[in-house]
Amino acid sequence: MRTHIIGARVIDPASGLDQITDLFLEGGKIAAFGQAPSGFVPERSIDANGLIASPGLVDLAVALREPGYSRKGSIASETLAAAAGGVTSLCCPPLTKPVLDTSAVAELILDRAREAGHCKVFPIGALSKNLEGEQLAELVALRDAGCVAFGNGLQSFSNNRTLCRALEYAATFNLTVIFHSQDRDLAAGGIAHEGPTASFLGLAGIPESAETVALARDLLLVEQAGVRAHFSQLSTARGAQMIAEAQARGLPVTADVALYQLILTDEALSEFSSLYHVQPPLRTHADRDGLRAAVKSGVIKAIASHHQPHEADAKLAPFAATEPGISSVELLLPLAMTLVQDGLLDLPTLLARLTAGPAKALRLPAGRLAVGAPADLLLFDPQGSTLAGERWLSKGANCPFIGHCLPGAVRYTLVDGRISFQG
């Protein structure tokens, strides 16, 4: 549908564009900025005065829960929730049942995502069969089926030699490997950051070293194998510093952080609320500050929701017996806008970390506004507000932000020029 978007402040972090102008969409692509192409007769006009137009958000970690965990979420429900959060492209982790370690599972996910049509979905394949860390998954077949990167979640490899070989094999085909660096043994049994709060509550701790020890090893192995690597879900300031040091010595590694890690700390656990049970755990004020600084400086180029919807029962138990994760993709834009509201990031930088940054990290065809590029857009009102939970589309209501009034409101999310969400 030919669409004329009138008078938006267009911010495209990839090109540095930031001006009030018109946008013309045709055939699912961006046809022009400013002046209409000759003979362009719009079928639909959107008055975007006062709104910001940016590339649709790119979220590197959204658990869709399908196949296998339909009680927690479905591809249709979670991609719609993502569209409501301003997302047009997302990556889903391989933690499905069966695990995303065969082309068939990748195809099923892509088919259902296309059918739902709310978001573009880019699956992340399992690096090892059944995520067991022993035998390699068929990475090339998975790539050909549409997997954009490969990871093993928080599950460790059985030993360093197998991991090393997996990285070398991935490097052979220039594939990207995603790390969730957490040492299995140091984290064993832990459910909260090892610090005063966990000690007070009697919760078994996961020390900072669980992340940094694994990260040190992973960075060395990445360097040795020469593989493209992305470090996901950093939780410590020290970890961010190690990424910065690796980048400074020329290692082409990227990193992302869960949005909630930029907002919450382990003190949120003080009433045993299972809504704050996440893995890796919420950490200290100093860690949060370090992660914020790394996002600002560009050491961390991507902010992801790390959306993990759950059924109510999964959170209805004593803290240690609950499942970790927060459902928050549908609040991605307004939650992220709190960082601007609090003066931690300027708006173009925030949008860079939510669009071009993640797209570049995993080489996704997304996250930029250019003539001829897919018309994947987000139109939002920076002066508006979102009452979290007033409407809820995700199957998982496990979100500690429900009830909060957040800055910014998504007005339109467009995928290939089609409105996938209207707020």
């Binding site: 005063p196 000690s199 007070f200 509550l201 009697g202 009433e271 029962d313 138990a317 004593p318 240690a320």
Partner: protein, 336 residues
């Protein structure tokens, strides 16, 4: 907001009275003193020929133990019986897969049978909070021990023991020795001692058995037993579970005894009239020498007796706190 500043009004009713007993955290010195005073008065009941008072007549108390216990379970049963309540005790074995569901369903079933009070012991920290908040908000919940978090009735019976033998807390040095990391007793004791005004609380343990951030309790930390025991008035020894020898926390029970075991010689470092306490069950020759456990300074068996009085106090106070809240709610309803 620091954890110690975190208020848990969950266990108080609108009048500030106890309606659940989940943790020492957030309770005032006045309230703790009221528990001790009430327990003192119940101690006389235990000394009488007829050991019953009718405070909980017609009420049903359910002991639900998801973890093994002999002493705590029995003393809770006796406490409820001496208050004339009907008592049911369930030992629920936890299956690892459906722990949460078992807990939820078990308690809802018991609630449906019109139980008035649950005494719950569970292996997960926060289990009693969870039940009070999400499962049975209108039934009084007494924490009989949750994970490593809290064992508030043990904490209070230890305070009663100290007060009865030392008269108060204001000028005391108290040492807590052993596996602080895994001990809910230690956590409850540190909080209770602090709240009641004890000026010198010491914890003594190897670094592998000390939780990170222990300083937040306002205690001084010793890794050397001799140094820590010097001139103390009270020594609280903690039980060392045998599984602590695995995973590198300690080399052996023998080495622990060699470095942290309470022997007659080491006891001599404390004040001559120092009390020796232990929550039980004791491991002779692991954390404590038999001669000390059975010696004149030991009050380990007195603790058991006081435990019944403390549990009577807490059961009766929480039951009346719930009743007061119900009445309050009813009056508000009528005003509307």
């Amino acid at each position: 907001m620091t954890p110690t500043a975190a208020k848990r009004p969950l266990q108080l009713n609108d009048l500030g009275q106890l309606r659940h007993f989940l943790s020492i955290d957030g309770l005032s010195r006045e309230l703790l003193t009221e528990i001790l005073d009430t327990a003192d008065s119940f101690l006389e009941v235990g000394a009488r020929a007829v050991k019953k008072v009718p405070l909980l007549r017609g009420k049903t108390v359910c002991n639900v133990f998801f973890e093994n216990s002999t002493r705590t379970r029995t003393t809770f049963e006796l406490a409820a019986q001496r208050l004339s309540a009907d008592v049911i005790t369930l030992n629920v074995s936890t299956s690892s897969t459906s722990k949460g569901e078992t807990l939820l369903d078990t308690l809802r079933n018991l609630e449906a049978m019109a139980a008035d009070m649950f005494v719950v012991r569970h292996g997960d920290s926060g289990a009693a909070h969870f039940i009070a908040e999400h499962v049975c908000p209108n039934v009084a919940i007494i924490n009989g021990g949750d994970g490593r978090h809290a064992h508030p009735t043990q904490g209070m019976l230890d305070m009663l023991t100290i007060r009865r033998h030392k008269g108060g807390f204001e000028n005391l040095s108290v040492a807590i020795v052993g596996d602080i990391l895994h001990s809910r007793v230690a956590r409850s004791n540190m909080l209770a001692l602090k709240t009641l005004g004890c000026p010198d609380i010491r914890v003594i343990a190897p670094k592998t058995l000390l939780p990170v951030g222990i300083e937040q309790y306002g205690v001084s930390v010793y890794t050397d037993l001799a140094e820590g025991l010097k001139d103390v008035d009270v020594i609280i020894m903690l039980r060392l579970q045998t599984e602590r020898m695995h995973g590198g926390l300690l080399p052996s029970a023998g080495e622990f005894y060699r470095t942290y075991g309470l022997t007659t010689q080491r006891l001599a470092l404390a004040k001559p009239d120092a009390l020796v306490m232990h929550p039980g069950p004791i491991n002779r020759g692991v954390e404590i020498e038999s001669a000390v456990a059975d010696g004149p300074q030991s009050v380990i068996l007195n603790q058991v007796t006081y435990g019944i009085a403390i549990r009577m106090a807490v059961l009766s106070m929480a039951m009346s706190g719930q009743a007061a809240q119900r009445q309050l709610n009813q009056e508000r309803e009528e005003q509307r």
